[in-house]
């Protein structure tokens, strides 16, 4: 390690040598040939100036990368990251899908259920009273928990609640770091992935990799890994192995929470019986009959047609609709899309009920605006969805870098295609020729 004084002395010596060397060259050539050889003197000076400047630059850069400087920047980074995590998780919760039902003033917090898995270490016993408390479940699972549930059951919302809890209780010691697993690109190690994510545009856009790496190495965070099911099937085993190795090296107080859809989790368990070294898996269950009745009764106060789902619950169509609406997401979307309950009862299959809820929500959102023609808006949204699914490519034949986050920067390559470079070169040549000839 080069000391501070040595760093100061090196360019000073270089500058002195440049000047002294020039004088010596002047005198030496004068004494040898009778007259000073100016080209030699000039060349010495020029080389000396360049070497001195290069040394200064190298030193400046190495100083920026010194451990002390990086440590200081990591401490500056932490509050910035905290703000970002807050804004993306519980800070934005009110804008999320759960918002419409807030007006109903009914408790529809999803219940939790244990997923029995022989691999898992025995968790702390959990009382029935707190079976809907995600925080208690997290603590009882020794801060290493897998959160599973059906699509729309509220996994992400539950994860945001945990982030809020962790931020409030141990904010000084650790940051709850929210990571979307859709960005996983089969990196060699999980640590590399985390550094990549913190630096990426879909992550936290930290520009200095050394700082990001130091932060990840510090262990001053709890990990909330959202969307294991968004990792392509072929990469899941690699992810599971990478996460296991990483989690084993973490201190016990560092929390790790992974969210995943039930079906994908079961598939992963069947394919790879070992992996995901988390203490326990918790499943988010659908709304109970009482919870759903309570919500429907509130809705019936606003639109009496909802009463049909309460009074005709013996009908098969009603049961189909109730089953779909027991999912918090679909219940919210049905309310937000101002769906007419009669339409729900007309559907012959459960999938049609789901499609109806989603379509009515999208239709209502798209038609209640004047900026874009609804048909155009739907087509644009559809293209973005297909681009994210990998079914469409950009005009430069590029595929998305993330299956859930759409970034316009992904449409273009980081460097211009060769033909553009050639055009630029040709223009430059033309301009320089014009200027100099």
């Amino acid at each position: 390690m080069v000391g501070k004084n040595t760093r100061r002395v090196i360019p000073l010596v270089s500058a002195t040598l440049t000047i002294l060397g020039s004088v010596i060259a002047f005198k030496l050539t004068q004494s040898l040939s009778g007259s000073p050889n100016l080209p030699i003197v000039g060349a010495w000076m020029a080389v000396g100036i360049i070497v001195t400047y290069m040394l200064s630059r190298v030193q400046a850069r190495s100083q920026e990368e010194s451990p002390e400087a990086i440590k200081e920047r990591v401490s500056q980074l932490e509050p910035e990251l905290r703000k970002q995590v807050q804004a993306r998780s519980y800070g934005a919760r009110r804008q999320l899908i759960e918002a419409p039902l807030r007006e109903l003033d009914r408790d529809i917090t999803p219940r939790l259920g244990w997923v029995r898995d022989p691999r898992l270490i025995e968790p702390e016993p959990l009382s029935e009273k707190v079976a809907d408390d995600i925080v208690v479940a997290f603590e009882s699972s020794k801060r290493r928990m897998l959160l599973v549930g059906e699509p729309g059951s509220g996994k992400t919302i539950a994860a945001y609640s945990l982030i809020e809890y962790l931020d409030n209780t141990e904010g000084e010691e650790r940051i709850p770091l929210l990571v979307n697993l859709s960005a996983w690109e089969a990196q060699n190690t999980f640590e590399t992935f985390l550094v990549d994510y913190v630096c990426s545009s879909v992550g936290y856009e930290v520009h200095e990799r050394a700082v990001a790496s130091a932060f990840i190495g510090s262990g001053r965070y709890s990990l909330i890994l959202d969307g294991l099911d968004e990792i392509p099937l072929r990469l899941r085993q690699l992810f599971s192995e990478g996460l296991d190795a990483f989690v084993r090296g973490l201190p016990a107080e560092v929390g790790v929470v992974v969210t995943c859809r039930t079906q994908e989790y079961e598939e992963m368990l069947a394919a790879h019986s070992t992996g995901l070294g988390l203490v326990q898996a918790v499943e988010i269950l659908p709304l109970t009959r009482a919870q759903l009745d309570s919500a429907l009764a509130e809705l019936a106060k606003l639109d009496e047609d909802w009463e049909a789902l309460l009074s005709q619950r013996h009908l098969e169509a009603s049961q189909r609709a109730r089953h779909v609406l027991s999912n918090p997401l679909f219940l919210n979307l049905a309310v937000a899309g101002r769906l007419h309950p009669g339409e729900l009862l007309e559907c012959e299959e459960e999938q049609k009920v789901r499609d109806l809820v989603l379509d009515s929500y999208l239709d209502r959102t798209i038609t209640e605006q004047r900026q874009y023609a609804p048909v155009d808006a739907r087509r644009y949204l559809s293209w973005i969805a297909r681009f994210l699914n990998g079914d469409e490519v950009s005009p430069f034949s590029l595929k998305t870098s993330d299956y859930t986050v759409f970034d316009l920067a992904d449409l273009t390559p980081p460097d211009p295609p060769r033909r553009y470079g050639l055009l630029g070169g040709w223009l430059w040549g033309w301009a320089s020729d014009w200027a100099w000839v």
Binding site: P39, Y204, E205
Partner: protein
Amino acid sequence: MGLGIGLGLGLGAGLPFGRGFAQGAGLGSALVSGLVFALATGLLFALVYGLVFGLVWGPFKRSAVSSRLTFVWPSTRRQLVDFLRRAVRGLGLGLLVVGLIFGSIMGLAFGLLTYAYVNVEGERPIPWFEVQGEALSLGQPIQGLGLGLLVGLIFGLILGLVFGLFFGLASGLLESRSVLITSRTPKETYSRSRIAALTWLASGLGGGLVVELGSGKDWRMGAGLGLGLGLGVLFALRNGGWFVLLQKVAHRRLARAGNLPPRPYDFLEWGIDMQIFRRVGGGVRFRHNLIQQQLAKLHQPQPREVEVLSETRGPKLALAGVFLALIVLDIAQGLWGETPYSKFGSRLAVGIGMALHDLFRLALIMPVVSGMDYLFVMRRQGVSFREAVFSWPMVAVAGVVTLLLLFTGLILPALGG
């Protein structure tokens, strides 16, 4: 980059210099000398540019997306002080580093070249170097070397001063952000890249203008401006320009295909406002994956392209008919009209020549007319350039132009035109 610029400039400047050096000799000697000079000068320039740009502008070589340059207009006293501080630092850096390094190396290069030139030039005087009112000649190589060094150093320092002024201005207005996270909306990323690129372009043009106005009569007209424009474009492209340009191309193609609106940034903001998307880092994601899958499932093949193709099919055929009619009528005129030739082959050649000439004129007029039409009228209506070219109004224009071409070809000779 330095090597590229150096070789470009070397070929530009070295070839004529080498040609001048070998004046009077055979073509082969001139060419060889020219190439040798071009290569030598090019490598020298490459070294200088590589060092200067690599070292001085190295910190600004960032991709557009991760660019940390922010345009700051000094509106408060504090910002003004900061601006002046950065501007003076930039000026100093430009003057000392660029001027001194460039001046030293250019001085050395000019000196050595003049030394060599004076040594081999023979008895002929060198018109552009004079000592005490007399042109240099054989036997005065040291004076030539001294003058070359002096001229090179002065040239380098002037260049350094000009670069320093604009580098200072640019570094004064473009602040490097100290924050570690630069989370921004896609629109911000784009507009910042555009501002950075335009600032570099304007700085280059401004610098070129100063060189142009400040240079003597020896400079070729527009050379300074050309140099400034070239450098401006180069730095603009490297500092966000490519990103902006490629994004423009991508947006235009997607809008033309009907996949995204012409202003996609506004659309994403709209989507966030409508709570269809939520912001994640520099991008957006659907509020829920089920919504994404539902939209992807409902996708129908884009009919617009097919519509465009079928809409332009008629005008395309009609335009082909107009072109064909012009060819046939010109050839007919050549064969049976008034020509000074009597042989069939000669008359056919005249007809084909006339047809080619008219086709060329028509092909030139059409893009100009349709381009103007597109720029002033159709673009606002969201019509693509292809649709503007292959449209019925353009068929009418082409028909009228064809008639005029044929008409003037027939009438003017008759009127003695």
